[in-house]
């Protein structure tokens, strides 16, 4: 009984374990099909190139992962103390040939990855405008305590916590902050970029279809940080123009005074839109952090 009974029990336990793992994986797969995996389900050219890079890198990494995991398990089994049949070489301490191999092997892989790294750092540089025949739309983004302000300088409108864009149109985003640092991120459209006070960063993205995409701050900025979400609505060009026209009729205007009220800390601010009467608002927000009384510091933000 002991030997056979034990091995049977072990077998049953292993079978049960495998079954449990397979079951868990099936449930997980079903769940993952039912939700958005934003980064892996891109809705724009930038995010989709970034997704390809993720997949390429993961596949290239397998050239290290598989041998390492395979060898560690194989050696653990083969050279275990109990297996006296395995060869034991108690003085084996080095091998020029093999050590050279495993200095060169990962190096070669890193050379390939480095080329991809360098090229993609340039082609996907967030400051680089997109190649497109379509005229780009410029939006100025200001992170506030704890909401996002989107200013459309050419259209003369502005919105809090909602960014409406036309699809298949490059969008040039200029970002700053009038609050602690935040990181601006719409996972389905592109990677993130920081918004920092007194500084201007850029992000260029495009939506390839109509839809609503979740946007959020990725960097802790204080008490209302978790509520710093916004919605990105991508629409056809006519629908976008319609939205601009409707917003232009908004009773609220965004002059310096309205802005100073808006900039006060609030949490989970609702979407609200303004007609923008002050075209220099964005640059004035940046300049507030520059040395006082030096107009020469005007670095003309907004030129893209």
């Amino acid at each position: 009984m002991p030997v056979i009974g034990r091995s049977k029990r072990v077998l049953a336990a292993v079978a049960l374990l495998v079954l449990a793992i397979v079951g868990a994986l099936v449930v997980l797969a079903a769940y993952l099909r039912s939700v958005d995996i934003s980064v892996l389900e891109p809705k724009g050219p930038i995010a989709s190139q970034e997704q390809h890079l993720i997949i390429i890198t993961a596949l290239l990494s397998l050239f290290v992962v598989i041998p390492v995991l395979g060898l560690v398990v194989a050696f653990a089994v083969k050279y275990r103390e109990g297996n006296t049949k395995a060869q034991y070489s108690p003085t084996l301490a080095s091998s020029k040939r093999f050590e050279t191999v495993w200095w060169i092997y990962p190096s070669a892989l890193i050379v390939i990855l480095s080329i991809i790294t360098w090229n993609s750092a340039h082609s996907l540089d967030p400051f680089k405008p997109l190649d497109s025949k379509t005229q780009a739309l410029t939006i100025q983004v200001v992170s506030l305590d704890w909401k996002w302000l989107f200013i459309y300088p050419d259209q003369g409108v502005a919105c809090v916590n909602e960014m409406v864009i036309p699809n298949d149109t490059p969008v040039d985003l200029l970002l700053t902050s009038d609050a602690p640092m935040n990181s601006f991120w719409i996972p389905q459209l592109s990677g993130q970029i920081y918004a920092m006070p007194g500084m201007q960063t850029q992000l260029h993205l495009e939506a390839s279809s109509a839809g609503t995409f979740r946007g959020l701050s990725a960097n802790i900025s204080g008490a209302g940080f978790s509520g710093m979400t916004f919605s990105t609505s991508s629409r056809s060009m006519p629908a976008f123009r319609e939205w601009i026209d409707a917003t232009l009729r908004s009773p609220k205007t965004l002059d310096q005074q309205a802005y100073s009220v808006l900039a006060r800390p609030t949490e989970n601010a609702p979407i609200s839109c303004f007609t923008d009467s002050d075209a220099s608002l964005f640059s004035s927000i940046i300049l507030r952090y520059m040395a006082p009384g030096s107009p020469s510091m005007n670095m003309a933000p907004g030129s893209s």
Binding site: L53, A93, S95, T117, S123, Q202, A223, S226
Partner: protein, 662 residues
């Protein structure tokens, strides 16, 4: 409105008022301390505690104290984790979860701070204190009094973090407190000040300890032990301490500048007034990235010892292992920008730092292949330290893949600050550092305490940690891909994240069970010690010098300083089967006297930190004077700081120890 009082600064009764759950933790901690004090009183052990422990300069005892503090902080931080996991599992849609935002933000800030500074650093310095002098055949460290001072500064920093729980509050600005959020304008309370001063004091302790061990390794190796004959753990500590000596001054200066911004209105890192917040981000990571390697290199050293010992083979590729360590040490200072590719540094800068980061994967990969080659044609005994090593290889490799992804700026834009990043660095730090330190603790425990730990319970603990880790962090990797960012105390139901947060929370319970087993098995092991006693000082068939002395070693480690002729000297001696000479010529041994000065310095440093936090400046001045005066008395004292153990006494001690061995 805060009005500074001349006597108590900004400290008012209001500072003691907190949410019920915090008060519970404070009362619990106070009761635990009281119970401990009552136990010491009941057992009449105060004198023993004072002479044997609190005033000790023996690195073996300081090591034990480091580890006790670190494990206590691991438990505290574990409790913080459970609360955070509970919050994230429940705070969705209309539910606001179990704790308020302010507490959640303090929890994650404290978690990172405590785990790095008071758990990982504590375990690391603890193990270095226990093992390093023994491994290099030395009786002590280069500066024993400085060593005790380092420990007490570490303890003072730890005490400040925990005092913030009861008096005032801790930082809510994340574990690295980026300005301008950490500036007075956005964080007007005492939280960031607590963060600054606990890190500043502990950081100075770490810097002093780094200098101490660096000098110890270079100057105090036994005859014959050239650098290239040192055990790999000693090499890894040498590299780690080198990094620490160059990295920690950056931290000290950065924290000091942030403090000046907050205390006297300078503009080093502020938004306006010519401040440069990105300078802070650069500086803090110029310390912060090397810090990762400061922690992980000694763990690599531990793995090197463990794999060689339990494979019954010398470490494979010693020279390339040293080369890899040195390469990592140098590269560690050239990758810090990868922590903020997303701040718009430009394609050339990002590309350069991305490639530098990837290059570190090469020496790391070489180390892993060399460990595998050490197992190759070995006779592997699967004692528990090997379990942690195997778990490390599995998790670290996967975490490394995630790291290579994040090293690519274009991918980092999509994954930075997401839970994918959180999962990545936890994979590296838990499997790389924590598992390594656990392996080291279990491996060297018999040397320190004279008996082995309970292997069966340790294996259960390992499996809880390993499986629990996967259950916690695989959901976080997926959540990162789903666009979930770190540090969220609330999210919308429409995100669909909740099931994964719940699974992750369940996983944290499995790890909690693993931690409980890890701690409780010590009790079981103590009860069973009669059967697991390490009678010959060599429980694992070891290879290096620490196994040649008794367990626990005498205060002077070695009665006669060993002379070595190669690597793995003990293993070589055992192969030659050379019987130890019957009579050895013992000489007089000079050892440093115990002194409470290190503890006084730590105590004063605590007062300095606490009073600066609360603006009680008159007391700050007194405490600084206290440090200067005790140090002055110590250095100018005509009392002998050493005592001599006469040769005859050594012979008597040794013969009684030999008696134990038989």
């Amino acid at each position: 409105m805060i009005i500074a009082n001349e006597i108590t600064g900004r400290l008012t009764w209001g500072a003691f008022l907190h949410a019920l759950i915090t008060e519970g933790a404070v009362v619990g901690m106070a009761l635990a301390l009281l119970a401990l004090a009552a136990l010491v009183t009941y057992k009449r052990r105060w004198r023993w505690l004072w002479t044997e422990w609190l005033t000790t300069v023996d690195p073996k005892k300081l090591g034990v104290m480091y580890i006790l503090v670190a494990i206590t902080m691991l438990v505290r931080s574990g409790a913080d984790v459970l609360l955070m996991r509970l919050q994230q599992a429940t705070s969705v849609g209309s539910s606001q979860g179990v704790i308020p935002t302010s507490m959640f933000q303090q929890l994650f800030s404290a978690h990172g701070t405590i785990m790095i500074f008071f758990v990982a650093m504590g375990l690391m310095f603890g193990i270095i204190n226990l093992v390093l002098p023994l491994q290099i055949g030395s009786r002590d460290v280069a500066f024993p009094f400085l060593n005790a001072t380092s420990f007490w500064l570490f303890a003072a920093g730890m005490a400040l973090v925990n005092v913030s729980l009861g008096i005032g509050q801790f930082s809510a600005a994340g574990w690295l407190a980026y300005p301008p959020l950490s500036e007075l304008q956005y964080s007007p309370g005492v939280g960031v000040s607590y963060w600054i001063w606990s890190l500043q004091i502990a950081g100075i302790g770490s810097l002093l300890a780094a200098v101490n061990f660096f000098v110890t390794i270079l100057r105090m190796r036994c005859p014959g032990m050239t650098l290239m004959k040192m055990p790999m753990f000693a090499w890894s500590v040498l590299c780690s301490m080198f990094l620490a000596m160059f990295a920690f001054p950056i931290l000290t200066v950065t924290l000091a500048l942030l403090f000046l911004d907050r205390a006297i209105g300078t503009h080093f890192f502020t938004g306006g007034g010519g401040g440069n917040m990105m300078m802070y981000v650069n500086l803090i990571w110029a310390w912060g990235h090397p810090e990762v390697y400061i922690l992980v290199l000694p763990a690599f050293g531990i793995y090197s010892e463990v794999v060689a010992t339990f494979s019954r083979k010398p470490l494979f590729g010693y020279a390339s292992m040293v080369a890899a360590l040195v390469a990592i040490t140098i590269l560690a200072f050239s990758v810090w920008v990868h922590h903020f590719f997303t701040m718009g540094a430009g394609a050339d800068v990002n590309g350069f730092f991305g490639i530098m980061t990837m290059i570190i994967a090469v020496p790391t990969g070489v180390k892993i292949f060399n460990w595998l080659a050490t197992m190759f044609r070995g006779r592997i005994k699967f004692a528990t330290p090997m379990y942690w090593f195997m778990g490390f290889v599995g998790l670290f490799t996967i975490g490394g893949v995630a790291g290579v992804m994040l090293a690519m700026p274009a991918i980092d834009f999509q994954l930075h600050n997401s839970l994918f990043l959180v999962a990545h660095f936890h994979t590296m730090l838990v499997s790389g550092v924590l598992f390594g330190d656990f392996a080291g603790l279990i491996y060297w425990f018999p040397k320190v305490c004279g008996f082995r730990l309970n292997e069966r319970l340790l294996k259960y603990s390992f499996w809880c940690w390993f499986i629990g880790f996967i259950v916690v962090f695989v959901p976080l990797y997926i959540l990162g891909f789903m666009g979930a960012t770190r540090r969220l105390d609330h999210y919308a139901a429409s995100t669909g994240w909740q099931p994964l947060f719940i699974i992750s929370g369940l996983g944290s319970l499995i790890i909690a069970a693993g931690l409980a087993l890890l701690i409780l098995q010590v009790g079981v092991s103590i009860r069973q010690r009669a059967t697991t006693r390490d009678v010959d000082g060599d429980p694992w068939n070891g290879r290096t010098l620490e196994w040649t002395t008794t367990s626990p070693p005498p205060v002077y480690n070695f009665a006669t300083i060993p002379v070595v002729h190669g690597r793995d000297p003990f293993w070589a001696a055992k192969q030659e089967d050379a019987a130890p000479p019957e009579t050895r010529a013992f000489g007089d041994i000079h050892m440093p006297k115990n002194t409470p000065v290190g503890m006084f310095v730590g105590g004063f440093a605590f007062v300095v930190g606490f009073t600066l936090i609360w603006h009680i400046y008159w007391l700050t001045i007194l405490a600084v004077l206290g440090i200067l005066i005790t140090a002055a008395i110590r250095t100018t004292s005509t009392d002998e700081s050493e005592y001599t153990i006469r040769a005859a006494e050594v012979a008597r001690l040794e013969s009684s120890r030999q008696g134990v061995l038989v």
